[in-house]
Symmetry: C2
């Protein structure tokens, strides 16, 4: 690597992981400092709004990642076969991203707590985008009740994370995801 200037963009994923592991309140400045390797002053230089701005930046970053990698492809499917392919890819991406339930969904976590009030738009927007994109793909795939099924699929993913963490068993996430695939009209085998 030529050089590594500390940029705001580079530090956001690190902050994301800290928020995922410790929660919003639990992620103290001291922990964020240690994880990023930056001093207090540097963090406040990049994020004058403090923790709240850090979390907002993280949520925006995650939202952009899903938009680009998952939601846009779902919307882009022109016909039924490619829609089914897109939905199948979504499950693969989701399984990889959440590491079979070992990694928490920050938006889902925030939705359960007081953080929802603070980051209302980011949390709601993320799930609206997800449900809308999936519903559009399900409709293209000629599935009945696309919106209802999209809600059920996204719920299963979120609940699968919670349950697999509670049981300390990633297979619970896999099972939940399999059920969601079935709801989305995918056969266990392939697209």
């Amino acid at each position: 690597m030529a050089k590594s200037p500390t940029t705001r963009d580079a530090v956001v994923p690190v902050l994301a992981e800290v928020f995922r592991e410790h929660g919003y309140e639990g992620a103290s400045m001291a922990i964020l400092q240690e994880a990023t390797g930056l001093g207090r002053g540097s963090l406040y230089h990049f994020f004058p709004g403090g923790k709240e701005e850090m979390a907002a930046a993280v949520l925006a970053d995650i939202g952009a990642w899903f938009r680009e990698g998952v939601f846009v492809p779902l919307h882009a499917a022109p016909d039924a076969p490619s829609a089914r392919q897109g939905i199948s890819s979504m499950f693969d991406e989701v399984d990889a991203y959440f590491r079979s339930g070992r990694r928490v969904c920050l938006q889902g976590m925030f939705a359960l707590g007081r953080e929802r009030d603070l980051f209302d738009d980011a949390v709601r927007g993320y799930f609206i985008e997800w449900v809308d994109a999936l519903a559009a793909a399900l409709q293209t795939a000629n599935t009945d009740d696309p919106t209802g099924r999209a809600v059920q699929v996204v719920s299963s993913v979120q609940g699968g994370i919670a349950l697999s963490r509670a049981l300390n068993d990633p297979s619970a996430f896999t099972t939940a995801l399999d059920g969601a695939r079935s709801v989305a009209g995918l056969t266990p085998g392939g697209v």
Copy 2:
């Protein structure tokens, strides 16, 4: 009412609601004090272990409620029709208890955060009991893959709470629950 002696049992449900609304860390002693109407000294008299003992008591109380009202009936079903009836009742109880997603599941909330480490047994035990009881009823009802379906149903409930809160729309919980009913082999109409 003849008199109202402040008992430990009477204060636990109040604490539960505070933990649900503010989370474990967000539920400060000041808030718990105000909600219960008790002074610091009284709270520490009932719960010498402080916040941790309060949360443990709350989790135990919730666990006992579900055990008595939901899990035991599921296990008790002697034949397929009564098993289906018990499963149907479970969904009604769950919908009422979580107020169509307006009320958070404390165990599910704790599972996503650091609290999981602190209340590991209570959180894991709660979900193990739930999945086991539902799987037993599904088996009695002659449903295939009872354990897998039980995991999917419980995941849907947990995810439905998160999604309905994120969207600020209780109908998302209802939709998630309808999907779960279908996974459990129940027709939308009745038992």
